[in-house]
């Protein structure tokens, strides 16, 4: 971030506010999640550093510190805080961060690239069957096994996504289509993992 604060001249960490003098700024245009956090564009992220930035910026622009300020400033704190939180959700989650990068590099959206490899579809059928069996049988061991399989599969997919996105490919590169397919697979995996979770909660409940 090369911009400086219009109030105190300090180099800005984020276009949302000045962590040095506490000034808040109206956002110009649509900064990316990376820009809002003052981070270079890229897939790799240091979660610990990200959380530290969230806390540092939060201390500067959270609406709690503007509760008795004039309405305009109060409203700006609300908006900038919401923008910061929205960006945090994108950056902190591997799949959402990858999705954001694919979009910005002109890659296909989740609805335009719907092709999935045959072998993945076969796997899906297998998992569905396993889930149904676990549901009917009430056996925790089956559920555990399925969850472990899916978790491994999820980790592998993310490794692939990382390999394809780090370093970042050129805008419009064919790798982006590949990443999109992996992200679609992730969405499916996560949906099934949520179903497993719900089933577990249900069982804990009836016990």
């Amino acid at each position: 971030m090369s911009d400086t604060c219009s109030t105190c001249g300090t180099e800005l960490e984020t276009p949302l506010c000045c962590t040095s003098c506490g000034a808040l700024f109206e956002l110009q245009g649509r900064p990316t999640a990376h820009e809002l956090f003052g981070l270079p564009n890229g897939f790799a992220i240091d979660l610990h550093d990200l959380r530290k930035r969230l806390r540092r910026f939060g201390r500067c622009l959270h609406p709690d510190f503007f509760a008795t300020a004039e309405p305009r400033l109060r409203e700006l704190a609300e908006r900038n805080s919401a923008a910061l939180n929205e960006a945090y959700e994108v950056l902190a989650d591997d799949a959402r961060r990858a999705d954001d990068l694919v979009r910005r590099l002109g890659g296909p959206g989740e609805d335009t690239e719907r092709q999935m490899p045959q072998e993945f579809l076969l796997e899906v059928l297998e998992w569905n069957e396993a889930l149904e069996e676990a549901r009917a049988g009430g056996d925790d061991a089956e559920l555990d096994a399925l969850e472990a399989t899916l978790a491994t599969r999820r980790a592998d997919t993310l490794t692939e996504v990382t390999r394809l996105l780090d370093p970042l490919p050129e805008a419009g590169a064919p790798e982006l289509t590949e990443v999109r397919r992996h992200l679609n697979a992730l969405r499916y995996l996560d949906k099934t993992l949520v179903q497993i979770r719900e089933l577990r909660l249900e069982r804990a409940n009836t016990r």
Binding site: F65, T68, E78, A204
Partner: protein, 627 residues
């Protein structure tokens, strides 16, 4: 007599803000003072304001301890646990309505109304009366200083309509609400102050009518909520009801005549409920408790002993429901019970030994109970109020929205806009387009909840988007922005992107008051203010007169013999009139004031007699009431 020393009075009231816990059973105010939050109550008074409203035959509604006492004798004119009805429609609270002793109806926007003594009251209005009382009590503890800014707490699991209703209640009470804070989060603030602690904390908050569980990470003074879950319809009341149900069944078996009255809401239910509550509290102190139902008019004195084991078995399903919510919160935060560093118990209902044991077993560690579970939420609210008035930047609270926000799609399903447990403030933008040529409006339904079908979630209301410029079908591009603010309240704005025209959004709230309705209520309250003021003055005068009568009687016993006949006669007659005024002029401030002034005049000679030489000169001109 206030116990707050003077230095706090030197602070300007505008630099201070109260923390108020608006509870289902009790409400309480607190303030930050000398580096820590303190509960505000006058000496010799209990700190809490029971959230009970009683409607006397004449005069304004009575709130708090007095209402609770009056309700014991006349349960048909009292409303308890009004918080359960905030932001709800009749159909949603059918269970709770069984304990309401008066006719209920619904406004056009689905706001419940209770009819008492020929007037209708919304839950917002009743809550505003409770808030006023809590505020009044807090201000009296501060020697009459008026602090109008406040932080009000709500259950974390409250939805938009319930939060909005709370905000409206505070507005009706004349309070300037700086923030709506979630109860478990507030509690964590009160706990997190003592040690500079780090780690993951679980707050288990079982109040009178609601249950919340929140998981927070605390680091560098930042209290970040990771997830929250709960049930806005599960609390101590339900434990009372479990006992009352057993008692009712047995009692009706023994006295069949009662069964005829049982289906009817009202006095019998209230009596049972209070008896059950007493028994529950006894069971927290001892392994056995008695449930005593007294119905003098039916000549019934019924007693039944419950053991703790029996009670725990009876209420186990309720405790399990709280643990379900805990499991859900843990799963959402991707944590297991072993990851939790500290467990904190909040809410009067966590005094039940059965709950403490089960929570300890679930998390595998002893929960914290150092702070009074009835006070910790108000104390935390005072901490947050201190932050909000600029008292410190060392503490930052980052909370979440408890429920997912979604929009009803064509097929009646829900398209998620904002996921539950997103940090607030948060925002999302959705694009809309028109499906007909020259279409200038779009209607949509916004819901809160986790269910797949829109109909299974809570509708926040119908949103009507108007002012779209007439364009061919599919050409208009309206960006609708959803913003959930730090209070957890939703605002929706819209903009047509191809022309830049600002579209208008009209909201038909569901189970909520419109701005116009709040304005009308405020205007009415203002009109009633003089009446209410007189009534309060009358109440104060009745008390004062009582004190004076008592003092005069005592004085006559000590020094009456020394008075001349005429003076004595005058005092006796005036005293008689004063007694009559105290007994009969309950709401006539003028008559009471007259009786008080007369008694003061007549007793001057008595006061003089009662003083010996030195005191006489020192106290010359003083009245009996003053010494």
């Amino acid at each position: 007599m206030a116990f707050i020393e003077l230095d706090v009075l030197n602070n300007s009231p505008s630099a201070l803000a109260l923390g108020i816990d608006l509870g289902t059973t009790n409400s309480l105010g607190a303030l930050w003072k000398d580096g820590r939050p303190i509960v505000l109550h006058s000496e010799g008074e209990a700190g809490n304001v029971p959230s009970v409203v009683y409607f006397p035959e004449q005069g304004p509604p009575v709130v708090g301890h007095a209402a609770r006492r009056l309700a014991m004798f006349d349960p048909a004119h009292a409303i308890y646990s009004v918080k359960r009805f905030m932001g709800r429609g009749l159909a949603e609270v059918a269970d709770d309505l069984a304990d309401v002793p008066c006719p209920v109806s619904e406004t056009a926007n689905g706001v419940i109304q209770f009819e008492m003594r020929g007037r209708k009251y919304t839950p917002q209005e009743l809550s505003s009366l409770i808030l006023m009382k809590a505020h009044d009590q807090a201000c009296r503890a501060l020697g009459g200083m008026e602090i109008t800014r406040a932080v009000i707490t709500v259950p974390a699991y409250f939805d938009d309509a319930q939060r909005q209703a709370t905000r409206d209640a505070a507005r009706l009470a004349g309070l300037d609400v700086l923030r709506i804070v979630n109860e478990p989060t507030a509690a964590s603030l009160a706990y997190g102050l003592d040690e500079k602690q780090q780690g993951v904390v679980c707050v288990y908050d079982l109040g009178g009518g609601t249950f919340d569980v929140s998981l927070l990470s605390i680091e560098d003074g930042v209290f970040q909520v990771l997830s929250t879950s709960g049930d806005t319809h599960l609390g101590g009341d339900d434990f009372d009801r479990a006992l009352a149900t057993v008692a009712r069944a047995e009692l009706e078996r023994e006295v069949p005549a009662l069964a005829a009255t049982a289906g009817r809401p009202g006095a019998f239910s209230q009596t049972l409920r209070l008896a059950a509550e007493k028994c529950k509290i006894a069971l927290s102190q001892a392994p056995e408790g008695e449930l005593h139902v007294s119905l003098p008019e039916s000549g019934i004195q019924w007693r039944r002993r419950f053991t703790r084991v029996e009670f725990d078995a009876l209420t186990a399903p309720l405790v399990e429901r709280t643990l379900d919510a805990c499991r859900r919160a843990l799963a959402d935060a991707k944590l297991t019970p072993q990851d939790i560093d500290e467990v904190v118990l909040v809410g009067g209902s966590t005094r039940m030994p059965g709950i403490r044991a089960r929570v300890e077993q679930f998390f595998g560690r002893k929960p914290h109970i150092e702070l009074n579970p009835d006070e910790v939420v108000a104390l935390g609210a005072a901490v947050q109020a201190h932050v909000l008035v600029g008292g410190t930047r060392d503490i930052l609270l980052m909370d979440v929205t408890p429920l997912s926000l979604g929009m009803e799609t064509m097929g009646g399903a829900v398209a998620k806009i904002i996921e539950r447990n997103s940090s607030v403030p948060c925002q999302a933008t959705e694009g809309f387009t028109t499906y007909a040529d020259n279409q200038t409006g779009i209607d949509f339904n916004i819901v809160q909840g986790e269910r797949e079908l829109a109909a299974d979630n809570r509708s926040l209301g119908r949103f009507k988007l108007t002012g779209i410029p007439p364009l061919p079908a599919g050409m208009a591009r309206v960006a609708v922005r959803f913003h959930i603010d730090a209070d957890g309240l939703l605002t929706v704005t819209a903009k047509e992107e191809s022309t830049g025209a600002t579209s208008r959004i009209e909201v038909q709230p569901m189970h909520g008051l419109t701005d116009g309705e709040v304005e009308t209520m405020l205007a009415e309250a203002y009109a009633h203010a003089q009446e209410d003021f007189d009534a309060r003055r009358a109440a104060d005068l009745v008390t004062e007169l009582g004190t004076m009568i008592h003092a005069t009687e005592r004085g006559l016993g000590n020094g009456g013999a020394e008075l001349d006949r005429e003076t004595r006669l005058d005092i006796d007659e005036t005293l008689e009139r004063a007694r009559a005024a105290q007994a009969n002029s309950g709401d006539d401030a003028k008559a009471l004031q007259h009786a008080r002034d007369e008694l003061e005049r007549a007793t001057l000679p008595l006061a003089a007699v009662l003083m010996d030489g030195v005191a006489k000169s020192a106290l010359r001109g003083r009245t009996l009431g003053e010494i």
